[in-house]
């Protein structure tokens, strides 16, 4: 069942760069077939003959099957001068859209899933960090996250303690603010925009806004694709396929605080599309 909450949110369905004049893209959003078309000067989204709301931001096309309850979230940093904006295409995954977001919020898997890149087996410890559900903004934030990384970014050389912040501005979007190797004091932004295809399948659109004038564009894209494809086999093998909102069958620890806060927030705002809502 698609609940109202899920229906009324904004979702990414295409990269802006795909919108060539005359193009017509077929997409599936929450089990419904929709079309994105460009008539030369304007882009439209339809479900059958019904016109859907549409906006183009952060290099992606966003639409909604319902009446969006609130505007699309802001990423002010993404609009700062001097950043390189990198849309990485989409990766289809047989997992709940919520699991894709949850995994993105997790650092403890770096040593085993992203071995030698984002983590190392001899530095697995997760230090204490702060998590907050911001009721006013209706967002989840994790701050003061630190983790040892052998190669934190394409432009990083040698291991560093990377500083992270995570922000969940919408149930199917996660934004990572990460130590910027090229510009001290600034944050690189790496986001995961998730398009729910069904409750157990999704298309993931990674997008980055980086201060990095040196790394070739293609290397940036492929670094991000490498990381996400390492996650993909994990995501397709978690049981149950739906994200449990009652962790009775699981054993979260302090390192899972962001994941648990994310689930708590989903539960509170009654976003159940892709979630397991029966008591485990």
């Amino acid at each position: 069942m698609i609940n109202e909450i899920a229906l009324n949110d904004w979702y990414p369905v295409a990269m802006a760069s795909e919108l060539k004049p005359g193009c017509r893209l077929n997409r599936v959003l929450m089990e419904r077939e929709i079309q994105i078309s460009n008539d030369g000067d304007k882009t439209h989204a339809f479900e059958g003959s019904r016109v859907l709301p549409l906006q183009i931001r952060y290099d992606h096309v966003w639409t909604s099957l319902g009446a969006p309850a609130r505007p699309l979230f802001e990423i002010p940093e993404g609009e700062q001068d001097g950043r390189r904006l990198v849309a990485c295409g989409r990766v289809h995954v047989r997992c709940s859209p919520l699991r894709a977001v949850e995994n993105f919020l997790d650092i403890a898997h770096f040593p085993y899933v992203h071995t030698g890149i984002l983590g190392a087996e001899d530095h697995p410890e997760v230090e204490r960090y702060d998590v907050e559900i911001d009721d006013e903004k209706d967002e989840v934030w994790a701050r003061q996250v630190k983790f040892f990384q052998p190669q934190a970014a394409k432009s990083a050389e040698g291991g560093i303690m990377a500083d992270y912040m995570y922000r969940v501005p919408a149930p199917t979007t996660s934004i990572l603010y990460k130590t910027c190797p090229a510009r001290v004091g600034e944050w690189d932004i790496i986001t995961l925009f998730v398009q729910p295809v069904s409750e157990t399948t999704c298309d993931v659109w990674p997008w980055m806004a980086l201060y990095d004038d040196e790394t070739p564009f293609n290397d940036l894209v492929q670094f991000q694709q490498t990381i996400f494809m390492q996650d993909r086999s994990i995501l397709e093998n978690q049981i149950p396929a739906l994200l449990p909102l009652d962790p009775k069958m699981e054993t979260p620890t302090r390192a899972d605080l962001t994941s648990i806060a994310y689930r708590r927030w989903l539960k509170r705002r009654r976003m159940f599309y892709g979630a397991q809502t029966i008591a485990a």
Binding site: R94, E121, N237, I239, A241, R254, S259
Partner: protein, 240 residues
């Protein structure tokens, strides 16, 4: 062998089910098998001890059959939680100093090695060992047809505890038979006596010929065949 009681989600079984051949299951192996419809991680420690666990990490639900063996432990590929032979978690890398309590554990079924076969039981109590029937492993094979089709095709002379005795290309052989999800069947071929490599190659082809016959009778649909092992995804199927 483990002492943990089986998963409450496990479907009950009365006895042992042959799930793999001993031959080739080297120390450090970790594979996914099915018994009584249960998804199971079957693994061997580097000293050769065998375990069969519910294929689900108690931390965040990752399939343990994707994990890796370290010494006498199985580690989950997702966050590296290490589980010892008794299925108890011994190490949580995110909190290296933490000594997990014994209730933080994987869920164990029973595992047993005998007569060239690896056996799993999902029964509450560990059943008595299967009757002795020594065999020499040749190969395993997955057939896209259900067990009754095999039974109809083969002339089984004797049947006991998941093993069929029959003659294949004039050789007396044993076939360990195991139900897979979606109407498929796993078979594990053994000879009653040690045979040459040439004989094994011949038997391997005979077994494939038998598979072709079975699948011609009852083909599993192509889509089912392709999607079988992607695992449970329904709400009800995941409920504990």
């Amino acid at each position: 062998m483990t002492q943990q009681s089986p998963s409450p989600t496990a479907k009950p079984s009365s006895s042992w089910i042959p799930v793999a051949l001993s031959a080739g299951f080297r120390p450090g192996s970790n594979i996914r098998v099915f018994a009584d419809g249960n998804d199971i991680a079957l693994w061997s420690s580097f000293s050769g001890k065998l375990s069969a666990w519910v294929n689900r990490c108690p931390h965040r639900g990752m399939r343990l059959s994707h994990g890796f063996v370290r010494g006498e432990m199985l580690a989950c590929i997702y966050h590296g939680w290490h589980f010892a032979q008794d299925a108890n978690c011994k190490y949580i890398p995110a909190h290296p100093e933490l000594v997990p309590g014994e209730m933080i554990c994987a869920q164990a079924h029973h595992a047993h090695e005998q007569d060239g076969l690896l056996w799993v039981s999902c029964a509450e109590e560990e059943p008595d060992a299967p009757a002795r029937l020594p065999g020499f492993g040749v190969r395993s094979l997955l057939i896209d047809a259900p067990r009754p089709v095999l039974a109809g095709v083969l002339e089984v002379t004797h049947e006991a505890q998941g093993r069929w005795e029959l003659t294949l290309a004039d050789q007396p052989v044993i076939l360990g038979v195991q139900d897979w999800p979606e109407g498929r069947t796993g078979v594990h071929l053994l000879t009653k006596e040690a045979v040459s490599a040439e004989t094994k190659k011949m038997l391997s082809r005979e077994l494939e010929a038998m598979r072709r016959t079975c699948e011609a009778i009852a083909p599993v649909s192509a889509s089912a065949s392709a999607s079988v092992p992607s695992g449970p995804s329904s709400r009800s199927g995941d409920a504990a």
